[in-house]
Symmetry: C2
Subunit: 356 residues, 2 copies
C-alpha cells in the first residue's frame, strides 16, 4: 500500500489485517476453490457466523451475499414489495432507494426533508408494505437515532422495516429486532475493497416473498426463496465472490477479537474529538447541527474553501472526502471507521488548526 | 499460493501474473479509490479497451461489468426480452438460461437435446425475440462451431443473438459480428477469482431495451440504459468491484502481449495432446465423440472410476474436476485455459498411462 491514509467515506482505508488475510487466502487456494466444495461451504458458514455475532443479528435471521448495497435495494423491491413502499429521505442515498422502487414500477411514496434535516413527521401511508430507512446518510452525515427507529416500528407493526446500514455497521449499536431486512456494502466500515454486499432477512421477509411470488416474478437466481434454499446449505445460487466472502469473515473475526463494544466506544471517542476540532475552527462547522443526529462514522463539515483542507491534509498523507453532489463546493467529509486508529484521528485533529 | 495446480473448469488456476498485479493494485491504492475519480475512470477505460482488443469486439459494441454470468442471464431477460426467447440446450448451463427466462415470467421456448449431443434442428419459433446459445457447454465439454452460429444468425436476422462465452473466451476465436450480446465470467479462462461478469451489447440491444421500457420495467441500477449512460463516461451505476476491474484489465493486457493467436494455437495444441492421451487410455474416452464439437477448453471425459484419476493426479499436485451433476460417477473434467502451460498439460498427459 502507499503511505497515504484514506479517510474518505468509502471506498476507504483497507482494514489493517486485509493484506495478511489476502496472502493467506492465496496460500489456501481460496480463489481456485469450487464454491460447492466442503472447504468453501465452511468458509461461507464461518463468515455468516462471525457477521451474526459481530452485528448482533438475531439467531433466526438469514445472511445472504450480493454484489453491492445498490443490489440490495434492487432485490428488496423485487422480492418484498408488491405495490408500494415508503421511504424517508434527507440525502442522496436514502432518496435513491425510493428512485429504485419507482424504476421497478412501484407506486411508492416518499417523506423528503432537506439535506441532512431532521424528520418531524413519521406518518407512513396505509398502503406502504415496507418502510425504507437509512441508519447513516453517508452523503450528509446524518444518523437516525435508535429511539426513532423503535417508535416507527411500534407504530407500524405489520409493515416490513428495511434498514440501510451502509457506513454505520459495525461501528454503531443497532437493534435488529426492530428491523426485518437490513443491508450494507463492505467498502465502508469493514475496510474492504468494493464488490460485496450483505443482505439480512427475517422470516417476515420470506413470508412476504412467498406471497409476492403468487402474483409476480421475484427475479431469478437471486430471488429470496432461491437465496434461502441455497443459503440453508451455506451455498449461493451462482459462483460468488469467494475471496471477498472469505476476507469479510476473517475481518469480522478480527473485529470480534477487538471487541464490538470497543469498536463502538472508539467510534464515539474519535467522533467526539473530530466534532470538537471542527467546532473550534473558524472556517469549519458541522453540517448537521443537532448532536443527536450527527453521524459518528461519516462526519460532514461546512467548510469555507473545502479544497484548502483537502489539499493541505493530502500533503500530510491524509486523504479526506469532498462534499457529495451539489455540496462539493462547501463541504468536506471525514470517515471514522474501525480501521482509522485513534492516533490517525488525533493527528488529523492536530493538523486542522494549521489550515487557515 | 499452494503448490497445487488447478485444472478444474472454474474457479480454476489463477493467471500467472495475478499476484503481481494484485500487489501493484495495493501499491496504487486501487481498493481505496473513489469509483468516480479520474484515476478509476482511466482504469475502467483501460480494461474495456484491452477486452475489446483481445476479444475482437466490434468497435461500436459496449462492454459492461456485472457480478457473474448468472447476472448476465438475469439482465438479458430483464432488458432484452418482452415475451419470449428461445434457447438451445445440451447441458446444465445452456438449460439454466432458459430456466431464468421462465422465472421472469417469459413464454420462452427450448430446443433440448441429450447431454453433450449435437443439435440437428435449428428451427426457432417466430415469436422468439432472442436466441440463447452457449459457445462452450462447460458441464458437458461441447462446443458449437462458428459455422453453425453464422447460419443461425443468417436464418434469423431480426432476432437478437445472445452468446454465452463462459470458459470459451479468450481461448477461442469467436466472430462477435454474428452476435448482439455476449457475456462471460472471469474465473474460467481469464484465471481470476470469481466475482465479476462481463456483458457485451450492441446497438440492437439498446434499441430493444428502449422498446421494452415502453411496456415494462427494465429493473433499476443495472438497466441497460443506465449501464450505457454511465458506461459512456467509463463509469458504473454502483460502486463496482474496482479491484477485479483493474486486475481483469491487466491480465487482458498481458494476454494481448502474449498474442491472441498464440493463445488460440496453444489451446489447440494442448487440447489435441489431451484428447490423444484420453483416446489411447483403456479406461478413458471423450464424452463428446464428434471432434468438430469437442470443447478445446473444458475436456469432459468418460472415466471408468473417475475417483481413481482425480486422486492419483491430486497426489501429483494436479487438481482436475469431477463430472457435473449426475455425471459425477462417470466423468472427469479437465480445463485447458491460457494459464495452463504446455508443460503442465504435457505432464498431465504423461501421468495418465500410470493410472489403471
Amino acid at each position: 500500500m502507499s503511505n497515504k491514509i484514506y479517510l474518505t467515506p468509502g471506498p476507504s482505508q483497507l482494514f489493517y489485517t486485509f493484506e495478511e488475510h489476502f496472502k493467506n487466502a492465496l496460500f489456501l487456494d481460496v480463489p481456485s476453490m469450487s464454491h460447492r466444495s466442503k472447504d468453501f461451504v465452511s468458509i461461507l458458514q464461518h463468515t455468516v457466523e462471525c457477521l451474526k455475532e459481530l452485528l448482533e443479528v438475531p439467531a433466526e435471521y438469514d445472511v445472504f451475499f450480493l454484489s453491492s448495497a445498490n443490489e440490495a435495494w434492487d432485490r428488496i423491491i423485487q422480492n418484498l414489495v408488491i405495490n408500494s413502499s415508503h421511504h424517508f429521505a434527507n440525502g442522496a442515498f436514502s432518496k435513491k432507494f425510493y428512485d429504485f422502487a419507482l424504476q421497478h414500477g412501484m407506486e411508492s411514496t416518499l417523506t423528503q426533508v432537506g439535506d441532512g434535516a431532521v424528520f418531524s413527521d413519521f406518518t407512513v401511508p396505509e398502503k406502504a408494505e415496507l418502510i425504507g430507512l437509512t441508519k447513516n446518510e453517508t452523503s450528509m452525515g446524518f444518523t437516525i437515532p435508535e429511539a426513532e427507529i423503535e417508535s416507527l416500528r411500534k407504530a407500524n407493526p405489520d409493515k416490513l422495516m428495511a434498514l440501510d446500514m451502509v457506513s454505520a455497521t459495525p461501528s454503531l449499536t443497532i437493534d435488529l429486532n426492530n428491523i426485518d431486512t437490513a443491508y450494507f456494502s463492505v467498502q465502508k466500515a469493514f475496510g474492504m475493497p468494493p464488490g460485496l454486499g450483505v443482505w439480512i432477512c427475517n422470516e417476515k421477509c420470506h413470508e412476504k416473498a412467498a406471497k409476492k411470488s403468487e402474483v409476480s416474478s421475484l427475479g431469478s437466481y437471486r430471488s429470496l426463496p432461491n437465496l434461502k434454499k441455497l443459503g440453508d446449505k451455506n451455498q449461493t445460487p451462482e459462483t460468488p465472490n469467494t475471496m471477498f466472502i472469505y476476507l469479510l469473515g476473517k475481518i469480522a473475526e478480527d473485529m470480534i477479537k477487538v471487541g464490538k463494544q470497543k469498536i463502538v466506544n472508539d467510534t464515539v471517542y474519535k467522533s467526539t474529538i473530530l466534532y470538537q476540532a471542527i467546532e473550534s475552527h473558524p472556517k469549519l462547522s458541522p453540517f448537521v447541527t443537532d448532536s443527536s443526529y450527527q453521524s459518528k462514522t461519516t462526519i460532514v463539515v461546512n467548510a469555507d474553501g473545502p479544497e484548502k483542507f483537502i489539499s493541505y491534509l493530502k500533503e500530510k498523507g491524509l486523504v479526506i472526502g469532498s462534499g457529495y453532489g451539489a455540496h462539493k463546493e462547501n463541504h468536506i467529509r471525514i470517515a471514522n471507521f474501525p480501521t482509522h486508529s485513534k492516533e490517525v484521528i488525533e493527528m488529523l485533529v492536530d493538523f486542522l488548526p494549521e489550515i487557515e
